[in-house]
Amino acid sequence: MGRNTLVFFQDVGGLAILVKRVFLGLPSAFTRSRLTTEQMLLMGVNSLPLIALVSIFTGAVTAVQAVYQISDYVPMRYIGTAVGKAVMIELAPVLTALVVAGRVGAAIAAELGTMKDTEQIDALETLALDPVKYLVVPRFVAGFIMLPVLTIFADTIAILGGLGVSTASLHVSPHVFLNGLKDFFKMMDLTSGLLKAFVFGSIISIIGCYQGFKTTGGAEGVGRSATKAVVISSVLILISDYVVASILFG
């Protein structure tokens, strides 16, 4: 068996153990609610400006390209439908998750990696504190809750972006756009996106923490862990997106 294969199975095993310990430690998120709230602020509130920027352009470009793709054979009143469904089911949850993976996943891995390298995690243990309950559980709960919240925010901003572009340059009135959005809206459009966001939020925080915990090799190792956290989270987000979509719509 090659070294890479061995490392892969070690990582799968390590992640499984971490996930089990996080679930067993979930009650500590309530007893240490201050830590969880802090992480929710860092992950959620501080990500809002970047998510808003990404979302407004996502909505705008979706509207422009929808018009290009459907204008010859579908009436323009369906532009709101096309933008709404594309944003809610796919674009907002996936792009929000990828942005948060880059911004927060890397930060989690770097912070925990630095703590590992400077013996701060050992120090927590010597104070009889479980690093999983103290560091991972608040980040997991924050990711699990805040990704769906950010996704709802991204849905709203992206639809407004699509509405703005449709009205300003595609000659579709707000009334027509919103009717198109409303007439074919199904609750499943929103809930499927939110379900994906729950999964993506969990992936980002668990992978960030896992990579942080296994950091070795000083500053170089911390940088490597941050990069790995982003790459692995992004790949898992795309894979799980397909899996969830297949289960819900397949």
């Binding site: 400077t118 013996e119 120090a123 927590l124 243990e125 010597t126 104070l127 009889a128 479980d130």
Partner: protein, 248 residues
């Protein structure tokens, strides 16, 4: 009392501890000396359960801690304090939060009592008025003293010191040595320090043990250490490149 019996530990192909035997009596200060990388910190981490030995036993007051689960280890660790080589203060917390973390997590003391206790402990290590500062705002010597305050804040029975004087100037090193001695006298704690600083070892130790090639090769009082004929110990305390210990 802490008894280390035939402890072996390897990392990959590197056998760091090769059958360490050592007993630390209640109330004494044992200093373990040895070259950098000889396994002193590894041994210290075994005593507080951060590492598990491949073979051997570690008995704390007669109980083997190597078979303890996480809950039992956490219960044990409440009786210990540890000062880390680079202090290991939590960057994101203030000095007050660092020193008071154990008290806030493990006791039902009201916040006012915890604040008082933190201030008192900081005073014991010669610091005051820095409760709201972050570790990044402190000098190396102050970080060591805050680390020491955090280690003794829960009134532990045992305190472990990992290279307590490394990285500070000689005057601050002496201040830290004095603090270790005064904390032991004031709080009646059992202390284990690992260091390669011979001046520090002589100042704080009741007994000195030398770790060499994964084993304890010498145990004696500071006076016995000064006068020993053991060639390895002599070379080490004289800081000579010539002798049985390879310099490179």
């Amino acid at each position: 009392m802490i008894e280390i019996k035939e402890v072996h530990k390897s990392f990959a192909q590197n056998e760091v501890l090769r059958g360490v035997n050592l007993t630390i009596q209640k109330g004494e200060t044992m200093v373990i000396i040895g070259r950098s990388g000889c396994g002193k910190s590894v041994l210290l981490k075994h005593i507080i359960g951060l590492l598990k030995p491949d073979q051997g036993k570690i008995l704390v007051d007669g109980e083997d801690i190597t078979s303890y689960n996480d809950n039992e280890l956490n219960k044990l660790r409440k009786r210990f304090g540890m000062l880390f080589q680079a202090s290991a203060l939590f960057d994101s917390m203030s000095v007050d939060e660092n020193v008071g973390l154990g008290l806030r997590e493990h006791t039902d003391l009201p916040e006012t009592e915890i604040k008082k206790k933190v201030t008192k402990t900081l005073k014991l290590v010669g610091l005051s008025g820095i409760e709201e500062k972050k570790p990044a705002e402190l000098s190396g010597g102050m970080k060591k003293r805050v680390g020491l305050a955090r280690a003794i804040a829960m009134d532990p029975e045992y305190v472990l010191y990992d290279e307590p004087t490394t990285g500070v100037d000689p005057i601050m090193a002496d201040v830290i040595n004095e603090l270790i001695v005064s904390c032991r006298n004031a709080l009646s704690i059992t202390s284990i320090a690992v260091t390669h600083d011979i001046v520090s070892a002589h100042k704080i130790a009741d007994r000195i043990a030398m770790l060499y090639e994964g084993k304890i090769i010498f145990i004696g009082t500071p006076e016995e250490t000064k006068n020993t004929d053991h060639p390895v110990v002599r070379q080490f305390i004289e800081g000579s490149a010539q002798g049985p210990i390879p310099a490179l």
